[in-house]
């Protein structure tokens, strides 16, 4: 009995210890990244303090990512006036693959490029897509991986709660 409990405990420990990266309740690590578009200013998370920031790591080769992008456009248009900012961090290498998609699906929010994966590493991204909802005070409210049916509702209600909190 106790052995079984210990084993379960161990399994639970491993299951949760997998998230070595940024976790809910922690402060989001600050970063500065170039925009994926040429001649656009660099993007610094720290400069967005006071806003709710939805950070999403995506790539053009990730089918669920591509599905989510137009939906984020819609989300952005509904909440930007209340203080929502979206950073869709593209990890495509070569960068042209990401730009190909953007030429077809223009995004209304900021698209930083993390071509070397440094910021992905900093956040401890383990799957594509991965997203982090950061409150106005810089703390992480939600960490989410994947994009399945129904996930948008989860993300939207977290955004609403974050916007209402400040």
């Amino acid at each position: 009995m106790t052995t079984t409990k210990r084993l379960i405990g161990l399994l639970v420990f491993f299951a949760f210890s997998s998230a070595l990266g940024t976790e809910e309740g922690e402060l989001a690590p600050d970063f500065t990244l170039p925009s994926i578009y040429e001649n656009q200013p660099v993007i610094t998370l720290g400069n967005l303090k006071g806003k709710t920031v939805y950070i999403d790591f995506w790539a053009s080769w990730c089918a669920p990512c591509l599905r989510s992008m137009p939906l984020y456009n819609d989300l952005y248009s509904r909440y930007k006036d209340q203080g929502l900012e979206i950073l869709a961090i593209n990890v495509d290498n070569p960068i042209e693959d990401g730009l190909d998609f953007l030429a077809d699906t223009p995004l209304d929010f900021l698209v930083p490029s993390d071509i070397d994966g440094e910021i992905s590493e900093l956040f401890g991204v383990i799957g594509m897509p991965s997203s982090y909802l950061v409150d106005a005070d810089g703390s992480v409210r939600l960490v989410h991986m994947g994009f399945r049916d129904g996930d948008l509702e989860t993300i939207e209600s977290a955004i609403q709660a974050s916007l209402a909190a400040h």
């Binding site: 790591f57 790539a59 053009s60 080769w61 990890v91 992905s120 991204v125 594509m128």
Partner: protein
């Protein structure tokens, strides 16, 4: 008598050893899987083609078995 290691089995072993050597490599991060995500890199790039080829070879040759358990039989073998 059965020879334990025939020339054919030695070939099989060689394939295994080289495969194991290959696996001792760097860890691939989530954002580095762009090439692996290409559909030409899938185990089965064409599911119907794969199923039919398996069926035809099953009906012409004595061997069967793959990474999946064998499905239904047919009167062809």
């Amino acid at each position: 008598m059965i020879k334990l290691i025939s020339k054919q089995h030695a070939l099989g072993l060689l394939v295994l050893i080289s495969a194991i050597n290959l696996t001792a490599c760097v860890e691939v991060r989530a954002w580095e899987k762009g090439y692996l995500a290409k559909d030409e890199m899938a185990w089965k790039t064409d599911v119907l083609e794969d199923a039919l080829a398996k069926h035809i070879f099953f009906s012409k040759e004595a061997s069967s078995g793959s990474s999946n358990a064998a499905g239904g039989g047919c009167g062809c073998n």
